[in-house]
């Protein structure tokens, strides 16, 4: 059978999308029909959500990927057939199986920013509910669904927006490469990830899910059918992450430009590299946890079922074995992006560069052995508590080196307080609060009370939003001229910054007090003594939500009709600024040759890189 799209489907802007959906749906329903037929033949009730969807999903996913371009642009060559090498131009590239890393970066950014804003709307709804200590807006089941959907969507955003977005867009340019090492695998990673919001949206029609983003078994093996889609979404994003991690690791090792030693890598590249190591080694564990829950649920396997010899704590161990490293995957790229911006906007070299790299690698290594600090109240032995309190506290030493890098860089610099720099400095401030409050949670004695309260909610919003998402916005404003070739309104951008920064702190700072004073998390009902402060938090939250309207207006308007940007509006040294805005396909017209560090401000006579074959300061080929 010839699956190649017709000329119409190939040429129409939404052809690949439509064809992917069509093939995906056909394969999904064909597989579902087959499974139901087999079930009927075997004498079981043919229609059962869990088994049918768990089986048919993989066919639907394969159909979606084949239809959108894996078949016509890739898989055909495995059979010796000619592949379609045409490449769309203009906006149509974004709706196709495009291999250009810059297109893929923008695809990630727009997809996950949209998810961020939608999950933000869910947060607004939760804050309406929390304006009163009693139930006002949602039934308990609805609240749990909204809360769980907000949680998992934001976790996916935090995992994928900075690495998927700016990792893809910037890393190849920053190291002077033409593209990622495996461009088609890169496109595959994105289109895998694109299935995730579809699955999350589909949970609405499957009864939702109510087990939070952590989906602890056995709650997640017996709740409504939406949980199956949640687990499949997590596994799918996991596959995307593993493929993306392999791509980043190989790209950074193999495709650095001439002269780009590891001691000259921009710090953001180091962070993406280190976090890709985490993604590569640990994402399989979350896939395992999700798959084991599905198997418990669908086939009655008993990994986590105590009545059949399973252990619910096993789930928590496997889950956090990935998910603790994952919180660094969410936070560290944003932190590094802030350091990147801080150096360029302080007009000074990144202070103690090697020590900051050591800090990032130290965090990477230690993050593998701290997972059980999420389980201090789960009934661990004293020896386990002793071990995990130690490793967890020690992680503050490498983390401190990142602060040292930031402070040493701004010290006696020439701080250019434009929007990217403001967001970057806010990352330092927010992450400071997030880090310091982490110590209260790392210490078993205080954590036992604070575990599963709003203290934890405040803490992880300060780290993941305060560092990861603020870092994302630092990156958006920093690279907007490069990506779009246009300039945004600095006034509106600064309005957005101050509005967001103040609202963020108004929203999350009081939550520490709420948690300490008896407000547990994941609830719609709480003691009425806490109502006033919750009202304040809600108002802060609404203000935080509204601040993003300024962002949206500014970005959309500037993208369409903003003033044209120059190649290097920040006069920054790194390679992405040494090519046009936006850069051409394959990034550079002449191959760069890196001749000094990326942050060597104050030495005007040396550039970071020279272009063309004529200049060869190394005297080597």
């Amino acid at each position: 059978m010839q699956l190649a799209p017709t000329a119409f489907l190939r040429d129409w802007a939404f052809g690949p999308l439509a064809f992917g959906m069509l093939v995906g749906l056909v394969m999904f329903f064909a597989a579902a029909g087959l499974i139901m037929g087999v079930r009927a033949w075997a004498g079981t009730e043919p229609v059962a959500f869990g088994p049918v969807v768990l089986g048919a999903y993989w066919f639907g996913l394969a159909g979606w990927l084949l239809g959108i371009g894996v078949w016509s642009k890739w898989a055909k060559e495995w059979l010796g057939l000619p592949v379609d090498r045409t490449m769309k131009t203009g906006w149509q590239r974004y709706f196709d199986f495009t291999t250009d890393h810059k297109v893929i970066g923008v695809q990630y950014l727009v997809t996950f920013l949209s998810m961020f804003l939608l999950a933000g709307v869910l947060a607004m709804l939760m804050r309406i509910e929390h304006m009163s200590g009693d139930q006002v807006l949602f039934s308990p089941a609805q609240y749990n669904y909204v809360m769980s959907l907000h949680g998992i969507t934001m976790v996916f955003v935090a995992v994928a927006a900075v690495i998927g977005g700016f990792g893809n867009y910037a890393v190849p340019i920053l190291i002077g490469a033409k593209d990622m090492a495996y461009p088609r695998l890169n496109a595959l990673s994105f289109w895998l990830a694109a299935a995730v919001p579809v699955l999350l949206a589909a949970t609405f029609f499957a009864g939702g899910f109510d087990a939070g983003w952590t989906a602890y078994a056995p709650l997640s093996t017996e709740n409504s059918d939406g949980q199956v889609l949640f687990n499949l979404a997590f596994i799918t994003l996991g596959l995307s992450s593993i493929a993306g991690s392999i791509n980043f690791i190989v790209t950074v090792i193999k495709l650095r430009a001439h002269g780009m030693g590891f001691d000259r890598l921009p710090i953001f590249v180091w962070a993406v590299f280190a976090m890709s190591l985490l993604g590569f080694f640990f994402t399989q564990y979350i896939a395992a946890a999700m798959l084991m829950t599905l198997l418990d649920r669908v086939f009655g396997m008993a990994f986590f079922d105590f009545t059949e010899g399973g252990d619910p704590l096993l789930y928590q161990h496997i889950f956090w074995f990935y998910s603790h490293p994952a919180v660094y995957i969410m936070g560290v790229p944003g932190l590094a992006l802030a350091l990147e911006v801080i150096s360029h906007f302080s007009r000074k070299p990144l202070f103690a560069y090697r020590w900051v790299v050591g800090g990032i690698l130290g965090i990477t290594a230690l993050s593998a052995i701290v997972w059980a600090h999420h389980m201090f109240t789960a009934g661990l032995s004293t020896a386990e508590l002793f071990f995990f309190i130690t490793t967890t506290e020690v992680i503050s030493i490498p983390t401190g080196l990142i602060f040292l890098g930031a402070l040493g860089t701004i010290w006696r610099g020439r701080l250019w307080l434009r929007t990217p720099m403001l967001f970057a400095l806010a990352v330092v401030f927010n992450f400071l609060i997030g880090g310091l409050t982490g110590i209260f949670l790392a210490d078993v004695f205080t954590d036992i009370h604070l575990q599963d309260t709003f203290f934890v909610v405040a803490h992880f919003h300060y780290t993941i939003v305060g560092a990861g998402i603020f870092g994302l916005f630092a990156g958006i404003y920093y690279w907007f001229p490069k990506i779009t070739g246009r300039t945004y309104s600095e006034h509106l951008a600064q309005l957005h910054f101050w509005w967001t920064f103040l609202s963020f702190n108004l929203t999350f700072l009081p939550m520490f007090w709420l948690g300490l004073n008896g407000m547990n998390r994941r609830i719609a009902v709480y003691p009425e003594e806490l109502e006033f402060l919750n009202l304040l938090v809600s108002l802060g939250g609404f203000s935080l939500g509204a601040s993003f309207l300024v962002f949206l207006y500014n970005i959309l308007k500037s993208w369409i009709r903003g003033p044209v940007a120059e190649a290097d509006p920040w006069r920054a040294r790194t390679l992405e600024w040494q090519t046009s805005s936006p850069p051409p396909v394959e990034n550079f017209t002449e191959a760069p040759r890196v001749v000094s560090g990326p942050y060597d401000y104050g030495s005007p006579s040396t550039a970071h890189a020279v272009f063309g074959a004529s200049t060869n300061p190394d005297g080597a080929g």
């Binding site: 090697r354 020439r414 307080l417 036992i448």
Partner: protein, 288 residues
């Protein structure tokens, strides 16, 4: 330029009209670097601001009355630990914030032409090692106290006057008093005798729950298939009607009934407790 070095370990920097080749590794900064980083006036100003904020902050952290009701001695010790961690966090917080804000004001770029700082430096061995020593010292300090000391406080005393078995189920708490042979299913109210050391044996019938007594700063998960223990000593008489933190609250998401899975607690004298126990349902052996 002839001076442009060709090794990755060194880099050209221009400063005050002089040209110096310095080492990128950070191990041996030259004298000129050391001077530019720790330039006198800025350092003194920052130190004074930091010291002032720190004194204020530590004073505030020490006196801040932000804690819920503490039902026993251990709860007060937990609050002391919280307070100590705050007092240790204050100097770190004020240090970073002082440098951030001071730099934003003092080192901000004033004109477009004013693009290059007068001094650049890549590294400073003394500052880096000092930073490492201080952060490591603080880490080890909080690890020992309240980290390890608190852990010992929690686990040292393994005796009890009374056992309460708590069985969690969606969505209620069921308590059994094995020494008295009575039980209380789907509890709304729980009475406990004052000044008594109680061991809670906590488990669950269905999903993971968590038994939280905010006033005792005590929490343990109810995990199906295993029994977890906590020990606590009740304090003076008090009841839920006086403070909402005198309650048992489920703290682990367990389904729709999760937020309302709570029990009002009263700490009463022994006599009242015995009367209350007498009114409970007897446990029939073999009919668990």
């Amino acid at each position: 330029m002839a001076e442009i070095c060709h090794k990755t370990s060194s880099i050209l920097t221009t400063s005050s009209g002089t040209t110096t080749v310095i080492d990128l590794t950070g191990s041996e900064p030259q004298a000129h670097e050391r001077k530019t980083l720790l330039n006198g006036r800025n350092v003194v100003t920052v130190f004074v601001i930091w010291l002032g904020l720190t004194v204020l902050g530590v004073f505030g952290a020490y006196h801040a009355d932000i804690y819920p009701i503490a039902g026993n001695h251990l709860a007060s010790q937990v609050d002391d630990a919280f307070r100590l961690l705050m007092m240790l966090a204050v100097p770190v917080f004020t240090f970073v914030v002082t440098i951030l804000v001071y730099s934003m004001v003092r080192f901000r770029r004033k004109t477009d032409a004013d693009d290059t700082p007068p001094h650049t430096f890549h590294s400073h061995g003394g500052v880096i090692w000092g930073w490492l020593v201080v952060t490591s010292g603080l880490t080890i300090a909080v690890l020992i106290h309240p980290g390890f000391t608190g852990l010992r406080e929690l686990t040292a005393d393994r005796h009890q006057d009374m056992v309460v078995e708590a069985l969690a189920a969606q969505w209620s708490w069921n308590f059994t008093f094995p020494e008295h042979g009575v039980k209380l299913d789907k509890a709304n109210d729980l009475m406990l005798p004052q000044g008594t050391r109680i061991r809670f044996d906590v488990t669950s019938r269905d999903v993971v729950h968590s038994l939280w007594l905010p006033m005792y700063r005590m929490k343990i998960d109810a995990v199906p298939g295993r029994t977890n223990h906590i020990y606590l000593t009740t304090g003076e008489p008090i009841s839920f009607s006086e403070d909402p933190n005198v309650r048992v609250q489920c703290a682990e998401l367990c389904g729709t009934g999760h937020p309302r899975m709570q029990v009002r607690v009263s700490i009463v004298d022994q006599q009242e407790f015995d009367i209350w126990l007498g009114g409970l349902e007897p446990v029939i052996v073999g009919n668990e």
